[in-house]
Symmetry: C2
DNA sequence: TTGAAAGCGCTAACAC
DNA sequence: GTGTTAGCGCTTTCAA
């Protein structure tokens, strides 16, 4: 069933059918009715490829993420998809993995598929070395590229991010104010936002006059699903005689591991030991006591991102950088 | 830059360029090199719409899920996407929500977009009333439809599911064998697999000669993210004087709530109270003690599903139903 | 308000 | 092994 069939059955030209299909004003009500009747009768739907060929767009946005099963990214993807659909856009999802090569090839693939824009969900897409970010700059020459939780300066690249620096800064100050000064920073990502978080911690510590002990900045390099390994990482530090009575973690799962460690070691939480997580994910409820965590306003970020993207696609001038404040949500693991 | 430009610059016909592009054998090595040189020089990539128009396929599979941020579905989507990509297929993701209308419109949208197949991830897509499943039957007239964790009889519909019935049956037997007979079944979904799980529980109880107490089959209807409400649901039962010393939950989050309830009520787990979850998700590690859970072999299901789909797309005859066994993973919440 | 017809960029059947 | 050309189904200008 094509537009030709419909036009024949309705006794009009294909142009008229096309006009009806696209809600053009320049069709008499009578013919519109006539055409619609035929369309409904045969359940005709236009061929998206043919339409795409002419319009050079299929109203589709590519979403890239390293791993869609990451609890935080999964939520973000959900929000993005919902809000895109509300704007009559589809999304093609690409899980790229954490390697640069996978990201490059996914990017090429999306451009080949003629998506109208690309969203990079998560800060893993930005590298220290500018040359490694060239793939983003190149892609932006073809379609707008949206960075979620990262910040970059390039034409046609738009960044929307949470203010991770200030969030960890505030959280650290909060721990310090509660009387804990031997705070361990526990992280597992050296991504852009990972660096900002760490910088916020460092600044708060230094500003408060506490000498930074490099042994209290711990990078966990194991699998993000292996909680036992995380706990063991901390236990090993304890064995070595490194002491700390608070942990600021770069995500909630690490924080859960921290709580587990504290309990195993004989501390009671939050009386002798405080823990703060990051993301304010569902995991905060899976902790006993419930986890204090930094809410980075994921949904708000996604909303801004989509609004910006829609603006760009309409040709409106849009801000290249948007930074939103996070919020510390206090629960049972801090006093 | 089109195939015409390339053909002109390379001094060959568009057909030859097309052949090179598609790796046809019928091109001399010399011309292949010549054409490739031009393609590389100008960084040309073929227009996917035009290709799709001719071939009537863009090598894309639609994935529908109610909520991609569901911890279990997120994992499944990740597996599906990876395995599709390995087979040179893209995926369009549609989060439909839990309403039938959302599912129908997503389905129509995917068909309009000419996907080559549709995957329904999760058992929420199947309804009790056959008329409500007509949208699946209709879609299957156009493209193969794959059901993940559901079972349905219809032409061009392929079901791949875990044997939920046997899994809960075995888990119940296991609890009974450990000396607990006042077992509460705690669930939150009346989906197809939800019913199978419940049926397995029922059968095991009846077979063992324990009268089924309907008060020990509890449906939680609140938000899947509101753990407090889940705990409260159980606490209320306890207040009413309904006693139980074991809980079999239809997913891990409910099971976590069950553990929380047990602790709050003064039971020690697993000495006086046992809990078994479902999905063997990352949440099992977030529990103290770690959660015994049924592993429904999500990755295996996804692998089978994609294999079946690829077979169907190649025109191979494929089994309409595949049922895979689950496995009870014993951890700290059972003795 | 409507119709005729020229693209859009690619593939594949057919001819050489 | 290579070229010619007719579609694929839709949109959109230009005429009427």
């Amino acid at each position: 069933m094509t537009i030709y069939d419909i036009s024949k059955k309705a006794g009009v030209s294909t142009a008229t059918v096309s006009r009806v299909l696209n809600g053009s004003i320049h069709v008499s009500e009578a013919t519109r009715q006539k055409v619609m009747a035929v369309i409904d009768k045969y359940g005709y739907t236009p061929n998206a490829f043919a339409r795409g060929l002419g319009l050079n767009s299929m109203k589709t946005i590519g979403i890239m993420c390293a791993d869609s099963s990451d609890i935080y990214l999964a939520k973000a993807i959900y929000y993005l998809e919902q809000k895109l659909r509300a704007n009559c856009y589809d999304s093609i999802l690409c899980c790229t993995g954490y390697e640069l090569s996978g990201k490059k090839s996914a990017m090429n693939l999306l451009i080949t598929k003629k998506v109208d824009g690309i969203i990079l969900a998560g800060s893993h897409f930005l590298y220290q070395d500018d040359r490694d970010n060239q793939y983003i700059v190149d892609a932006a020459k073809q379609v707008p590229v949206m960075l979620m939780n990262a910040l970059m300066d390039a034409p046609n690249v738009y960044s929307i991010t949470s203010d991770d620096y200030s969030s960890t800064y505030e959280a650290t100050k909060y721990l310090l104010a509660s009387g804990i000064s031997d705070i361990l920073y526990f992280y597992n990502a050296v991504s852009y936002s990972g660096q900002r978080k760490l910088a916020g911690f460092r600044e708060a510590m230094e500003e408060s006059g506490f000498p930074l002990d490099s042994r209290l900045i711990q990078y966990y390099s194991g699998s993000p699903e292996d909680m036992d390994a995380m706990v063991e990482h901390l236990t090993r530090l304890h064995m070595k005689g490194i002491t700390f009575h608070g942990i600021l973690a770069s995500d909630d799962l690490l924080a859960l591991a921290a709580v587990k460690y504290a309990k195993q070691t004989g501390y009671s939480v939050p009386e002798d030991f405080s823990v703060i997580g990051y993301n304010n994910s569902i995991l905060v409820k899976c902790c006993d006591p419930e986890l204090t965590s930094i809410d980075n306003k994921s949904e708000k970020i996604c909303q801004h991102l989509i609004n910006t993207l829609m603006g760009v696609l309409c040709g409106t001038e849009m801000p290249g950088k948007t930074i939103l404040a996070g919020e510390l949500i206090r629960r049972g693991t801090t006093r």
